[in-house]
């Protein structure tokens, strides 16, 4: 079976490190300029360098988005920026505007180019246009069906990157300026105000609605896409939390590894689906891969986004002798709760909370303050940066 890349979003250095820890083979990040998430924290050039050095020590990769649709004024400084990224030795840049490719060619800048999903590649012929420009990888349109992906792979043998999880645009990426019209915030330069999530009315006597899609979730098609020859599986969400990114990565890492060693079962797929849906607080579906989306792939007014307090805390330290884990609390929990701990390369460890200790080893009944340090007894292979969450799903009940 082909080796595939699991590609994660990283909004800042901390999330970059967590992404690698939780199983990403590569991350994509945005610089302070020229990135389509203008309001994410994003990376300075120094931080990009630190991230790249960190990744390369782990034999992992960093891709930098340079994917805005440029206006005249944005061209100022672009050449110098690209040269700096080359000097930092980023593994690739992700672009949507041909001008970036043009500058790289003209200036002979040593940068690998990946074509952004903003280019809406749906067929082999348009793929070939960009491959002729020395583009090394195509991030396909999220609208690409299974048949489209097969055809593009067969006819081009190109390195293909496909989104597998996260929020979707209602429109083809890049083909929407609703944000510009409503708020003057430029969607194609990272300012999207997500107007598709707003509520609209149509004719009198009808119900109001949004045109917002449910999230993308490709859990049940990962093996199929590996067999088709997809090279990189991309997760959306540079503005998402550590808990979200770690959970999603953990699940997809487990799925890919279990496929590779032939241990993925239908029970695990159901279990992972439940974890993913709960983590995002939103429903998710395969969207365009297996059919044209219908009303079932869209939210109208009945969107369920109940926030949960599943993220209990982050493990800062573990004493194997006493079996006490030091945890930075993120959400309320108390004696008697059923929790579980998950981390890279391990099955979740169940925790029944018998006792909670504060920093001074005083016993407490409740951990109620965000970021307070507490100690919990955990029996198992516990490491720093493991995550403790409420135990909602039990794998044994799926088997």
């Amino acid at each position: 079976m082909n080796k595939v890349e699991l590609l994660a979003p990283a909004g800042d250095l901390e999330r970059l490190k967590f992404a690698f820890l939780y199983g990403a083979d590569a991350v994509y990040i945005g610089g302070k300029e020229y990135s389509l998430r203008a309001n994410a924290k994003n990376f300075t050039l120094e931080e990009i360098q630190e991230g790249v050095e960190y990744a390369h020590k782990l034999h992992k990769k960093v891709y930098v988005t340079v994917n805005i649709v440029f206006h005249n004024e944005d061209l100022k400084g672009l050449k110098e920026y690209l040269k700096k990224l080359a000097k930092i030795k980023v593994d690739a840049i992700i672009v949507s505007d041909l001008v970036v490719i043009d500058i790289i060619q003209k200036e002979k800048i040593n940068l690998e180019v990946h074509l952004s999903t903003q280019a809406s590649t749906l067929n082999a012929s348009s793929a070939k246009f960009y491959l002729k420009q020395n583009v090394k990888r195509l991030v396909l349109a999220r609208e690409a069906s299974r048949e489209d992906i097969i055809d593009i792979k067969e006819k081009t043998q190109a390195d293909l990157e496909v989104f597998i999880h996260g929020a979707m645009c209602t429109s083809f990426s890049g083909k929407c300026v609703l944000s510009n019209c409503f708020t003057n915030r430029d969607a194609n330069r990272g300012g999207c105000a997500q107007i598709c999530r707003w509520i609209f009315a149509i004719e009198k006597g009808t119900k109001p609605f949004s045109i917002m899609p449910k999230d993308l979730n490709m859990v049940k098609y990962i093996e199929d896409m590996i067999n088709i020859g997809v090279n990189s599986f991309k997760i959306e969400g540079r503005m998402r939390s550590i808990y979200y990114v770690s959970t999603i990565l953990y699940v997809y890492r487990q799925i890919i590894d279990k496929i590779m060693n032939n241990t993925l079962t239908a029970a695990y797929v159901r279990y992972y689906q439940d974890i993913l849906n709960r983590c995002a607080n939103r429903e998710s579906t395969p969207q365009f891969y297996d059919k044209l989306p219908t009303n079932k792939e869209q939210y109208f007014l009945d969107r369920e986004e109940k926030s949960n307090q599943d993220f209990i805390g982050l493990v800062l330290d573990y004493d194997a002798k006493t079996k006490l884990a030091t945890i930075e609390q993120r959400n309320y929990f108390k004696v008697g709760d059923e929790l579980e701990l998950f981390g890279p390369n391990k099955e979740p460890i169940p925790i029944k909370v018998h006792k909670i200790f504060d920093e001074n080893m005083e016993e407490i009944e409740v951990a109620r303050h965000p970021q307070m340090l507490v100690k919990l007894e955990v029996d198992g292979d516990v490491c720093q940066n493991d995550i403790v969450r409420l135990k909602v799903f039990d794998i044994s009940s799926y088997l």
């Binding site: 505007d97 003057n184 300012g191």
Partner: protein, 266 residues
């Protein structure tokens, strides 16, 4: 000036009406290959007696491109040029050896001179300039492009293109039978939008006509001034050309878009 006005055609009859007014540059939206436009079928196109530009403005799959190849083969003697959104159409044109102008019409792109030149250098004869940029930006583009480009000067502005069939989905969800050519209103701002769906997707237009006719003052490097006649009558288009219109200029023409919250200056 009229010799550089380009209008899209919604029916065969419109061609005569425009010709009588000395407008002779026609863009024909090809049925089954466009979204957001009234289209002409292959049969109707074959009756046309005048050369024209063909519009193919939707994103295409392999099967679409195969079908397109057959259609272009039948109408190739009459096509002066092809306006295309999907770059895959280039390969079809090349394979058929069609001696036509290739014009890149990707909505919301064409926002800077260097990108436009990059496409012009790679086989395109012209490109449509975005109408979501300022007059100053357009002026700079015209001063720096390597070939003539096309300016959008009047009509309803397409602001979103989705592969989803959004009205059909709504009808399914709530068991309605609403028209696929409709108007929606945002709940808080009360801003209205036109919404049009066909089997290939849904397009949303700003409800206000934009009047960028002041761009007619730009002469250098302009191949055409494009009027999108969608939902407009021929007489309204002709009046607009004579500047007899109440439509206001696009907000983008005189106001820069911003892209970081910190850039908001109001």
């Amino acid at each position: 000036m009229k010799d550089k006005i380009l209008v899209n055609i919604k029916s065969v009859e419109e061609i005569n009406q425009y010709q009588k007014a000395n407008l002779n540059n026609f863009l024909i939206p090809l049925a089954n290959f466009c979204v957001g436009y009234d289209t002409l079928t292959l049969k109707e196109i074959l009756t046309l007696k005048t050369p024209f530009y063909l519009l193919i403005n939707r994103l295409l799959t392999k099967d679409d491109l195969d079908q397109l190849s057959d259609i272009l083969n039948q109408i190739k003697p009459f096509i002066k040029g092809i306006f295309l959104e999907d770059l895959g159409v280039l390969e079809v044109i090349d394979k058929l050896n069609l001696p036509v102008e290739k014009i890149y019409f990707a909505n919301h792109f064409g926002t800077n001179y260097a990108s436009i030149n990059a496409f012009l250098k790679r086989g395109f004869d012209s490109m449509v300039v975005s109408n979501e940029i300022t007059k100053e930006e357009i002026k700079e583009i015209l001063a720096k492009v390597d070939k003539e480009v096309i300016l959008q000067v009047y009509g309803y502005n397409q602001i979103m293109y989705s592969r989803r069939t959004l009205i059909t989905n709504y009808n399914q969800e709530y068991d309605f039978n609403l028209a696929l050519d409709n108007t929606i209103e945002e709940n808080i701002t009360k801003k209205k939008l036109k919404i049009k769906e066909n089997p290939y997707g849904t397009v949303i237009f700003d409800e206000n006509i934009y009047n960028n006719l002041e761009l007619l003052e730009f002469k250098e490097n302009v191949k055409f001034y494009y009027i999108n006649t969608t939902d407009l009558k021929v007489e309204d288009v002709l009046k607009a050309i004579e500047n007899k219109t109440d439509a206001k200029s696009s907000r983008f023409l005189n106001k820069k878009t911003i892209y970081k919250i910190g850039d908001i200056d109001e």
